[in-house]
Amino acid sequence: MTEGLSRAKEIYQNRDQRARELKNDGKKLIGYLDIYPVLEMLTALDLVPYRILGDMNEPITEADSCLPTVVCPFLRSSMDLGLKGKYDFLEGALFAHTCEVAEKMAHIWRIYLEPSYVHFLDTPHTTHAAAQKHFKELLKDLQKTLEDFTGKKLTAEKLKTAIKAHNQQRALMRELYDLRKSDPPLISGAENLQVNLAMVSLPVEEGNELLTQVIGEVKQRKNNTPKQPARLLVWGSIIDNTALFDMIENAGANVVMDDTSMGYRAYSTDVKLTGDPLDGLAYHYLVDFKSPRTFRETVLSADKRKDYMTDLESRFSYMKEYIEAWNANGVILAGLRYCDTHGYEVPDLTHYLNSINLPNIYLELDYSKATLAQLRTRVQAFIEVIG
């Protein structure tokens, strides 16, 4: 019984197939980048959110005409696919201010691809009360453009129903990740990633059905993954191809947990159902996500101490919780070339991991399979150091 897992793999390998079917059935698909666009608002208006990703196997040939080479290769690849017409089934696109380059790309996408709907969701970079209030106002703007585009009213009821469906997906995703806590994990990091990539390619209800099926299958498994001395957590910006996890897992480790914007980061907590659903959404998307793109100020301890270690503790203690819960004994910091947002976080995160005596290694990926061979030596040596 591996139908669910096979289906997830099939969608991962051929992401747009189902999307094109949905379009032919009259559905409107809206592309979005990263985890900040508020998907519930799309779902509530019967729009299908479809995550815009790059393709490591496709050489970048068109994007150089509109994005300079200092833009991270993930965004250049995504734009490249757009320019090649590979996202031509999308009715529109919803972007958020995740990083400076993504902001610029939102406008470049609008100019070059002329979708019928584009919205740029300005997203504050702090979690202060004023920022939350402001973000809620910005969500009202988003609501207005979506209502104009669809000609439908976005009622609180519809939004609450959508929040419930997306919360179900978050809960199911956490349940799937929990199946990696055992030794050996019941599902490999690479397989789990395929499921993640399927989820961002399907309407939420359809995704939830598939996810339920996958969890059922994985729970039935016995020793599918080999027991390995190294149980690793992979931290990083975006990993939208299984090549890295395959390489790590073939080098003699299990990827038991991740903290990336393609992984657990978007699923770690539910959206609270508040009287005005926009309050819960604003809080979730701004405060709950532990991403380096948002400045999270140190929570002061009782003695008002505000030193470096208190700051590190306040910013990264969630990682320690993951490490303990998933029993990880090493961390791979998977940076993406030119991703300053994540790159600037690395020195502090390294200090934090060293302070809790957790072996860690920083790898800079350049979004190509060709360079993974050289990185394999580092990963294997890292595993030897742990083991």
Partner: protein, 271 residues
């Protein structure tokens, strides 16, 4: 370079072979192995365990196990210099820094994909200057006033060398400048591990006395250099092999060996 080291149970080196690696790793691996066996007079089947290391480690058809060169270099250096805490290995295509504690590798750094500051960089420069690689070290020692050469890119450094020649700078000063470019880049990388004495320097580039001198100056004190820096990785691999065998014997377990064959194999062959 492909190297083979065979040790006996007393860790005495019974054979050592070094040979240039071509495109066909596997064919060469067999050849150097046969040469090494020839030196010892021991038949292939009597070798208790074979560990392959380095970039070609997955292309040794007869190896029982693959271990990275980082772990193997650390092991080899510890056997030569038990006091080593920090080590630098500069080979033909990359540079590595090792941190060693209680005889074991605990941390490491590697250079980026680029070959600047490696043996390959020296080869390119020697070629540009019309010199033999092996002569660079002694030539640089004659330098009176080394020039400053950028240490970021092999191709840019090569262009810089050409323009220094046209400015009339002596060959000795240019070569000394090149050695310092390598040393500052490598030691800069090593600093990420916090340099602690004793510091050892190994790998093919450690055969160059000019680079050894430059590294010493960058580090600020004496450094340890093996008599034969090319083979410390292979020696480490052999020692790791011995440990694996002893561990298995102590536990009374069978030694897990690969299905070995020492036949002409081609890298291009489909298995």
């Amino acid at each position: 370079m492909t190297k083979v080291v065979i040790i006996d149970e007393d860790e005495v080196v019974r054979a050592r072979v070094e040979s240039h690696t071509g495109a066909e790793h596997r064919r060469l691996a067999n050849k150097v192995m046969e040469q090494a066996l020839g030196q010892t007079g021991i038949p292939f089947d009597e070798i208790a365990y074979i560990v392959a290391t380095g970039y070609g480690r997955i292309n040794i058809p007869f190896a029982d196990r693959q271990i990275t060169e980082l772990t193997c270099h650390a092991r080899g250096l510890v056997s030569l210099f038990p006091s080593v805490r920090t080590a630098l290995d500069i080979g033909g295509q990359d540079a590595k820094g090792l941190k060693i504690k209680d005889g074991k590798l605990v941390n490491f750094v590697m250079n980026d994909k680029c070959a600047a500051g490696t043996g390959r960089f020296l080869e390119v420069i020697a070629d540009t200057l019309g010199l033999k690689l092996d002569d660079l070290g002694s030539i640089s020692l004659k330098s009176q006033k080394k020039v400053n050469i950028s240490n970021t890119c092999t191709i840019f450094a090569q262009q810089e060398v050409v323009s220094r020649i046209s400015e009339g700078v002596t060959i000795e000063d240019i070569v000394a400048g090149i050695h310092h470019a390598i040393a500052s880049r490598a030691v800069g990388m090593l600093k990420r591990l916090k340099i602690e004495p004793d510091v050892a320097f190994t790998g093919g580039v450690a055969k160059n006395i000019g680079v050894v001198k430059a590294i010493k100056e960058e580090v600020g004190y004496e450094i340890l250099v093996p008599e034969d820096p090319l083979i410390s990785g292979a020696l480490g691999a052999a020692l790791m092999g011995k440990e694996i065998v002893l561990k298995a014997m102590a536990k009374g377990e069978a030694i897990k060996k690969a299905e070995r064959r020492l036949v002409e194999a081609s890298f291009f062959e489909q298995e």
